[in-house]
């Protein structure tokens, strides 16, 4: 894992001191809110419905145990004893007081963390595959590149006042677990003729105008990465639609100009920039890569795992659902579900954070990940240790066996916290999870991703959910639109709307209708929801959801 060098430490400490002075000047009246707002946003501090919210960056979703312990301490000392892990692999505190925020940032700096560029029109926290460095299907660990991008983009003088926010995601595997096609820039590490480079995807994004990203180059040599990304952001910075906030993201620029024109402009800018990159960036990258050396994996019998798997059905169910193949067959990738039925998706109490940190320290090479699906990952666990880990997780409400199932719902904070939201997300997620737990159907249903957003900004990724739910305000009442057929992976697709939305009291029933329709029409137990949808299209689901309309059409 990356450890701050002297420059990083001094930079972050200096920023905390600056922000402390800015907060002081805001409180004593020297700064107005208009003057203060851009300063607080640069440091991740929002003002939401009920309180301030501090969004802390977890670069590429990677944490060590000490950092997770510190997040727990901050939650206990300055917040309400919990934190909310987000779809951008960050953590949000929902209840800080303005006076306390500089101390919270100081505590983050103590463990090499910060909240810089988690808001505002800047390059945001770079996200990555949450199985990086552990997955069996990986070309290379994407995190060294993600860390290089963090260093390059942090306080980059040209990119502090962009037309809008800018998000980059990186993966090192063909299977896309980082939603790279729905980012402003998506990077996939690829190999060609024995050399590593990148497939570069540009202009993806969700929100008001969802777009799947387009390939701007299918192979960019590794050494060209920074000048090429600088060229992309620079071209957009110049021609992006600053006149209209809703058309300012690069997806609109790419859409309006076409990928071919954008490629030509980027190539021209790249030709100007490339000579300025003397190779220092590659030296820095090599230094970063050394810090991401794989942990020493122990070789030992996996008999304790096999015994527990054979004897304990609860353990077996959890192992079948929450484990993923590690590149080393004696090891496993563990996903800890933050989606207990009826709980808030992505929330962890300070106590749960400490439990996970301790497990990582003892059994997981001191490493944790936050997934964009709002769960926690222990990436390198020896299988012999799994029964013990499972037992500890059970004691702390962390052993829910539902990864990838219908109750493993992504949900944004929605109108329970967010000032931008148009409806609530959390209660809808809670009710759906509770309902399908009562029905005892979720293992029968299998792979099904529900994603819920409380407004069109789509923090809950609803466009790429197999079932997407969007909360809206319809004449002063919460109303929920459904989309079907979205896909966040390497076969990315945007969902299509079923038809008119549903009031809050009907949305769980509507989801149940969709799922029952799937169970009725799937060709076999092996055919997943998304496969069935692709085979049948919208018609059977629409007929089931809107029977009166269908009957009226038949009668006409």
């Amino acid at each position: 894992m990356y450890h701050y060098n002297d420059f990083d430490t001094a930079f972050v400490r200096n920023r905390v001191a600056q922000f402390r002075a800015q907060v002081g000047r805001r409180i004593d009246g020297s700064l107005t809110e208009d003057e203060f707002k851009p300063l607080r946003l640069m440091n991740g501090l929002y003002l939401q419905l009920h309180a301030y919210m501090l969004r802390v960056a977890i670069p590429y979703g990677t944490l060590n145990s000490r950092q997770m312990h510190q997040l727990a301490m901050i939650a206990d000392r300055w917040d309400r004893g919990y934190g909310h892990f987000t779809t951008r692999q960050n953590i949000q505190y929902n209840w800080p007081k303005l006076r306390d925020v500089p101390d919270m940032l100081e505590a983050l700096a103590d463990v090499g963390m910060h909240a810089i560029q988690t808001s505002g029109n800047t390059i945001r926290n770079v996200t990555a595959d949450h199985f990086a460095g552990a997955a069996a299907d990986e070309v290379a660990d994407p995190r060294p590149v993600a860390e290089l991008l963090r260093q390059w983009s942090t306080d980059h003088p040209e990119f502090q006042f962009l037309p809008r926010k800018f998000k980059i995601a990186v993966t090192g595997a063909e299977a896309d677990r980082a939603v790279i096609r729905a980012h402003d820039i998506g990077l996939r590490i690829v190999e060609r003729d024995g050399a590593q480079g990148f497939e570069v995807i540009v202009g993806g994004g969700l929100g008001r105008t969802p777009m799947i990203g387009k390939v701007i180059t299918d192979f960019l040599p590794q050494a060209d990465l920074l000048p090429y990304l600088e060229a992309i952001v620079s071209v957009w910075n110049l021609i992006g639609r600053r006149d209209n906030k809703y058309k300012a993201r690069i997806k609109i620029t790419v859409h309006e100009h076409g990928i071919d024109e954008i490629r030509t402009l980027v190539d021209a800018r790249f030709a100007e920039l490339r000579p300025a990159f003397s190779g220092v960036d590659q030296q820095i990258l090599a230094g970063i890569e050394a810090q991401f050396a794989p942990p020493p994996l122990r070789a030992a019998p996996v008999a304790p795992f096999e015994t527990a798997y054979a004897k304990d059905p609860v353990f077996r169910s959890w192992a079948d659902t929450n484990l993923t193949a590690h590149r080393d067959p004696q090891h496993a990738i563990v996903q800890i579900s933050l989606k207990a039925h009826g709980a808030t998706p992505g929330d962890a109490s300070a106590e749960q954070m400490r439990v996970m940190a301790d497990l990582a320290e003892r059994y997981g090479h001191n490493e944790l990940r936050v997934s964009h699906e709002q769960n926690i990952v222990l990436p390198h666990v020896h299988k012999a240790d799994l029964p013990l880990i499972h037992a500890v997780l059970q004691q702390h409400g962390l052993a829910t066996a539902n990864i990838g199932l219908i109750s493993d719902i992504i949900a944004c904070p929605g109108m329970d916290y967010c000032a931008l939201a148009t409806a609530r997300s959390i209660p809808i997620a809670q009710e759906i999870a509770t309902r399908f737990d009562e029905l005892k159907l979720e293992h029968e249903i299998g792979d099904l991703k529900i994603k819920i957003s409380g407004c069109i900004n789509a923090c809950g990724h609803h466009h790429v959910g197999h079932i997407g739910i969007l909360g809206l305000d319809r004449a002063g009442v919460e109303n929920y639109q459904i989309t079907l057929g979205g896909d966040h992976t390497q076969t990315a697709a945007l969902g299509a709307r079923t038809g008119p939305g549903f009031p809050a009291e009907e949305i769980v029933g509507a989801v149940e209708t969709i799922v029952q329709t799937y169970l009725d029409i799937r060709s076999s137990r092996e055919e997943t929801f998304i496969e069935t949808f692709r085979r049948t299209g919208m018609t059977p689901f629409k007929s089931a959801l809107y029977p009166d309309k269908e009957a009226a059409r038949d009668a006409a």
């Binding site: 003002l47 919990y82 800080p96």
Partner: protein
């Protein structure tokens, strides 16, 4: 024809705590909407909003929100404003804690 003016309250977030506050008749701020000034005249509403926006050291992001007279005083109309009077639905935090 312009729409008929409907009653309003001036609301904002507290600078330090960040929670919802409402403007009172005597130029103070309250954490209980029922204590707020119910504004029934459009021009008066604009003056009260201007006053609130000048309160830099107390209130952030002041705006006029729909309200109606209830048994104990002004009440919110829209669900967003109702949530602001109590807190989130997943934890008993916010104003509902002390209610």
């Amino acid at each position: 024809m312009s729409r008929e003016f409907t009653p309003k309250v001036v609301t904002a977030n507290d600078l330090i705590e960040g929670d919802a506050i409402w403007l009172t008749e005597d130029d103070g701020w309250t954490r209980d909407i029922a204590q707020a000034e119910l504004i029934e005249d459009e021009a008066h509403g604009q003056l009260r909003l201007l006053h609130a926006l000048s309160q830099h050291s107390v209130a952030v992001g002041a705006y006029l929100a729909e309200a109606q007279l209830g048994e104990w005083g002004p009440q919110p109309v829209h669900f967003r404003e109702i949530f602001r009077t109590r807190g989130p639905s997943n934890h008993a935090h916010g104003k509902q804690e002390s209610a």
